[in-house]
Subunit: 455 residues, 2 copies
Amino acid sequence: MGKQFLEITEKKEVEELIAELSVKHAKKIAVDTEKVRLGDGEALGRIASTDIFSTLDIPPFDRATMDGYAVIASDTFYAAEDNPSLLIVNGYVQAGEFPSPSQYVEKGYCTGISTGAPLPKGANAVVKVENTSDYEEEEEEEENRNIKMVKIYKPVAPAEYIMFAGSDIKRGEKIVVKGTRLTPRETGVLAACGIREVEVRKKPSVAVISTGNELVAPGTQATTTLEPGKIYDVNAQTVCDSVREVCSGSGCVPLFLGVAKDNLEDLSAKLNESLAKGADVIIFSGGTSAGAGDLLPTAIERFGEILVHGVDIKPGKPFILGMVQGKPVFGLPGNPTSALVTFNLFVAPLLRHISGDYFYKGREEKQNLERRKKVKATAAVRIFSEKGRNEYVLVKVKVNLAKTKPAEKGNLLVYPILTGSGAITTLSSADGYIFVEKGKEIVEEGEEVEVEIFF
Amino acid sequence: MGKQFLEITEKKEVEELIAELSVKHAKKIAVDTEKVRLGDGEALGRIASTDIFSTLDIPPFDRATMDGYAVIASDTFYAAEDNPSLLIVNGYVQAGEFPSPSQYVEKGYCTGISTGAPLPKGANAVVKVENTSDYEEEEEEEENRNIKMVKIYKPVAPAEYIMFAGSDIKRGEKIVVKGTRLTPRETGVLAACGIREVEVRKKPSVAVISTGNELVAPGTQATTTLEPGKIYDVNAQTVCDSVREVCSGSGCVPLFLGVAKDNLEDLSAKLNESLAKGADVIIFSGGTSAGAGDLLPTAIERFGEILVHGVDIKPGKPFILGMVQGKPVFGLPGNPTSALVTFNLFVAPLLRHISGDYFYKGREEKQNLERRKKVKATAAVRIFSEKGRNEYVLVKVKVNLAKTKPAEKGNLLVYPILTGSGAITTLSSADGYIFVEKGKEIVEEGEEVEVEIFF
């Protein structure tokens, strides 16, 4: 890296140098973190800088997953359409309520329950309301007038239609792995655990400086009073907006430091200001006056070193790359188009890398998958779909690293997520979904499928 | 549209209905606009709601495009390496300065000039500094001691190395067409014209309401005091973040209105609150208690109509779509995964449409082109590249609508932008660039090229 390129460098060589720099630089700035709130969307797209653990069980209590009656399963074992079990209803529990002590379910009793409500003590299953009917008035005996009863027409097994406390997420369980990019699926899981704030990697700060004695920052002078010989600065806007655009969500924050005059003192002062303000990357553009092309390299060499001065491309030949106190310093040509082309070619890849791509969990496997794209993959196992339903099966996508079947090495494999749509963790473990059309019940192992990618 | 679907609707039918609704709804909310500042990046990605015109010439004055000497071209016509023209230097003008009255260039005189500096009156061309040399001291006559002179070794034609006032953008010229999505290229052009604020389409406001007696908004109760029977709301976070993510830049703004209880009064109140707060779209999720599935449709029918109640997909069967006072109202299932799947299938396409895609200039031609993607296209004309340079030629991309050559109908055609990298308008008229490698000087008409798309 200490090598100095004082002559025109080949494009390919510059690209390799920037790739190398990206890796080095990304590691260095990985330590900077900040806390952001989930509620206002600040966490969306950011990279978690620590592992995050749940401080509670999800669900926090045994929970009914159907409307019906909480029962002791053995009370229903002999129930049948023509021979219903008859149980005394000792009360009701709605979602959001908690069973009262009197709602303890004893043999011969049951509690009416709604989806999402906590299971009363004693009960070990839920009978769906469709498989029950109210015990009719006319069948009642005199002494049972004030006792509500229900008929059960189908047996249930223990644990049926119950989601047990902690079965989705256990207290203390890791819910987000350090380095994960927080999509709505992760923020949902965090919300489920009552977490309001997360520690994430800071967005890299990018100092942006325009140079040129003729430049006026837009808005600092009214159009009518633009001094003779002056023009409005274009690159401040183009470069700052390009910085913002590079990597939305986890992206970079531009820090516009104004216009520098074409002299060594001003350029050096801006370089110092960038470092003092904690910029992770510094971008100069312009300097079109006579001899200005040599001023920025001289300023950079005062504090650091020049790596590239000139590339064999058009537009963009006078491109400069240096390093000052471990921070990359870019010098883009002043022409707006040249500035944009060199930004896209050389600056954007570095910014993308240090703003998150590098830290993204699973990036190696998934870097080629794009959000909301459809990709071809192979079913890694047999996948079942409900009869007569158009089903979206949530899946995890993995690159086949083995040489074995069912797919060729390097192909994508999909595995179904089996936790179901009620589980919070289904959200964060899925990479996307496959569509299984009505009429198809089984996707065979090795069958080709199309995955719609979530992230 | 007045048709009521009280039974399970087919997925395809729902998708068609939402596409129809998107178009209708997008037209209606197209009138809402707001002013945003360019400087802080607020304009980036937004859709211009008016045509925007330049209030000044760009460049504002005749401007040198090379370092050298401003001359009267005819004074150089007989200049040659072995017979230089000798001109008196009447001063210098740097970029950012304006020539003094004494810098009027008369026959036999010239003015030293730097790139970007205004051309002094009288001059009509610039000689590059490389084609000149200082007149040596030893050749000087006694009487010329205080007169600086320069030798010109090559003739220049009138207008050479000059960019004339208004040649890039004329005062009063349309610089942004209504409906354009503002990328860094457009914001750069606006900056060039000294524009600080633009009128853009408002981001659609999306009311988000969770329903369920058991739900607690994350952060409103500490984990340790989460009441028995309650759980933290997941969908508020997932839906709000998904709304934010749908269309970054010009996207939608979620407006979380809290948790509604599972009763008609609360649901109706939230519906009213959404409308009162100007929501363009309303999204409910959940309502998992007994019979809750019928409450939202009832509330919607109090104020408007139900279009869909149930879709033949899994998960997501209980999906609801209604219209209230011209605003789409979505009812997503309460299970987080079902909510996310139905959001992606039915809500996201509508939000994408009304948040900008619909208004995007050239969307029909370019809707399949994605930012930073490489696409294959055909050179519509012969494209020249500089000898011995790796050149990035900025191009405009059009869909070939004719049946004639050089490409098949429907293929993409590229046209080079000929204004050069110094022109501001090169930026906003280019859709991307093609790379012409060193050694290749001509891309023939009809030749296949790869375009890297900017937007």
